[in-house]
Symmetry: C2
Subunit: 227 residues, 2 copies
Amino acid sequence: MTRQEAAHTHRIPLNRDRVLRAAVALADATGIDALSMRRLAQELDVVPMALYKHVANKEELLDGMVDTVVGEIDPPATGPDWQRVVRGRILSARRVLLCHPWAARVIESRTGPTPAVLAYLDSMAGSFRDGGLSADLTHHVMHAMGSRLLGFSQELFDASGPSGPPDPGLAAHYPHIAELAATAAHDGSSTVGGGCDDQFEFEFALDLLLDGFEGLRRQGWTSARKA
Amino acid sequence: MTRQEAAHTHRIPLNRDRVLRAAVALADATGIDALSMRRLAQELDVVPMALYKHVANKEELLDGMVDTVVGEIDPPATGPDWQRVVRGRILSARRVLLCHPWAARVIESRTGPTPAVLAYLDSMAGSFRDGGLSADLTHHVMHAMGSRLLGFSQELFDASGPSGPPDPGLAAHYPHIAELAATAAHDGSSTVGGGCDDQFEFEFALDLLLDGFEGLRRQGWTSARKA
DNA sequence: CTTGACCAGTGTACGCCGTACACCTATGCT
DNA sequence: AGCATAGGTGTACGGCGTACACTGGTCAAG
């Protein structure tokens, strides 16, 4: 067990997959802003340039990270009730994205779709089609769901800061927001703290949209273009 | 007209507002990634550090830019039809955000709300309340609208690249997406090219949501929490 | 057994970034 | 006249992504 042998044993050859996993873990642990090629290399006990044998550049690294997390989303369930199927899948996507808070922003920042995202969207479209929606309606429905399809949209921010008591200055300047904050505060939601129940909000919007889609489907909606 | 006088005349004293406007213009012209303090300073014929007399740092510059563009959104119209009012305002926001394609991402990247965004959201909540929605419903409705409230969400990407003919390889791997692309291609929408009519998609989703909200309002919806 | 191609990993270097800090210099108040 | 202040300057530092030339180890062909 010379030093050389030790080096051999503890150094798994560092393939692309290991790089991506380490990058995801690092982003999870320290935030996406702290993810640099240099820090990542350090984490892998390697010199920065070594990474470039496995990813072309940082953009491709980010693409790979996106594919890695999107690959964690459950495959679609099977069943006759398309709304159930879609709902379950989207909530799975949401769960995954909530585990990797950086992922939503990174996905949005990609200039083109990555394969895993494409596959996800494709199977989602398939679920709509299997549920009896026309291709036309499915198309518009996918657009309507927007980023909600991918389970994120935690919304911009909470409007109320992390602090506890309602800011009196805020109430003076933004009365309606203050009112909403008050509403959120004193209904006994699952989040004991000041905030509102994100999960409830998410499902509220999701169900509203799904109900809307079902209504359109039942009435045989088709995109009536004005010439 | 010594050189000194010339310097005096052509150098308007560079206040915060001029900095923000120049930053917005530069981001519009060259993209948000090309906006650096150094490039911005150069644009203003000034040394980089001069900017720091007017903005604390780059984050605050971005905050200011957000407030600048959000300030361009039309004030809310008045009228008895709340859906009309809200719809018009949101479409105004969308118009503004489409003029500054970088703005959506920057807004999402802010850690806290900026004053202009807060004011915008507040007056939007006011429109819902004036329309007869309860504070409770308004709260959830604001969440449901999500980023659509701010008029963006051009959606992740177009799924079909900028190229013309449908990629046969894509069709093989992602049949449903290919089907949607075909649907979008041969209905004679306003965009003659391959893409779909973003404006139509946006209004489709918007109206679906607004109709859903109106239904809830009419039936006196209230958030029925399961304890 | 030698040779040479081919990797994965290294080391150095460049140009860009945000910005801390010390410095000027004109302006305007006392 | 004296002086504080505000706005613009110059220099410098540490971090970033990554181009490019290299090295040592593996392995097939001669």
